[in-house]
């Protein structure tokens, strides 16, 4: 009886808390403070059509660098804890093969999904999305290959190289801002010309940084998936 009563009480009290929040909310129809500054000056300052990208990569660039670091730490932790060499399957029982529909479908879809992921992060400054979304799309293409063919392996050396170099170049671009534009310009995108508003080669370093972030996130998530899968030696 008490076992059921306590969750019930918790749910009821949560309802009252949320009711208080929901009835007291006052919608804010006008931008205020820092949001107003970003919305008014973002486009002319940074030359990016997608203001979200401009904020994420430039105004809040340090936070994005932190986010990338968090993902890197998560990937390292998973590799440390879960990466293991699977024993040879000597019982003579093979893994079930994937169905014909999955095999054929994945052959058709994997190139398209990968290309779409690349499209998302290259166009990060023009259309919604960016490095993280594009990287996740690429990782889901790799996952589809794992599902379709259980013996499929990724080339670890290439993935590690891509990941490390995109991380290094990301930080280098940030430091270049300090060198070229002076102090407190870390990760400033104006070290490259802003270009014509709305074209693919515009907004300074934003497309470059998002391409690096996309490559890094994609290879990192794919490596995490591969480590979870366990290696067959």
């Amino acid at each position: 009886m008490i076992k059921r009563l306590i969750p019930l009480l918790l749910v009821i009290s949560l309802f009252f808390i949320l009711l208080k929040v929901a009835t007291n909310v006052a919608p804010n129809y006008d931008l205020t403070g820092v949001a107003k500054t970003y919305a008014e000056q973002g486009a002319s300052d940074l030359g990016a059509m997608n203001l979200v990208t401009a904020i994420v990569v430039t105004y809040r660039g340090l936070d994005t660098l932190g986010e990338v670091t968090v993902l890197f730490m998560a990937g390292t932790g998973i590799a440390l804890l879960l990466r293991r060499k699977k024993k040879k399957n000597d019982s003579g029982i093979k893994n079930r093969a994937a169905s014909e529909i999955l095999k054929t479908g994945s052959k058709l879809l994997v190139p398209i999904i990968t290309m779409f992921g690349a499209y998302i992060f290259i166009n990060g400054h023009l259309s919604p999305g960016g490095g993280f979304q594009g990287g996740a799309a690429i990782a889901s293409a790799v996952m589809l290959m794992f599902l379709a063919d259980s013996s499929f392996k990724i080339n670890h050396k290439v993935f590690v190289l891509i990941e490390s170099f995109s991380g290094i170049f990301y930080v280098l671009i940030g430091v270049l801002g300090l060198v070229i534009l002076g102090a407190d310009n870390f990760l400033d995108n104006r070290i490259l010309p802003l270009g014509t508003f709305g074209t693919i080669l515009s907004a300074g370093t934003i497309p470059l940084i998002y391409t690096l972030v996309g490559l890094k996130v994609g290879t990192e998530l794919a490596s995490i998936l591969d480590n979870m899968k366990g290696e067959l030696e």
């Binding site: 979200v52 019982s91 998302i120 979304q133 996740a136 899968k229």
Partner: protein, 85 residues
Amino acid sequence: MELQQGIFILMGLAMIIAAVLAMHVKDLISSIIAVGVVSLFASILYLLMQAPDVAMTEAAIGAGLSTLIFLYALHKTKDVEEEND
């Protein structure tokens, strides 16, 4: 505005129904798909609320990648069961 609010409420109800289904359905594959449906509706809601960047993240990671990981984990557990037979 009225119509939009109606759509929001319908979407929210569909999400709740899918979440309850995910807990109570006996078949595990259906349960995984129901969890994916919750994320999919959430991403459509974000899109309708003018947040396409968040919607994209939710669709790529919530509805896409994590559903695939659950399916792969299910595939692995089934393999073990067959070995024990």
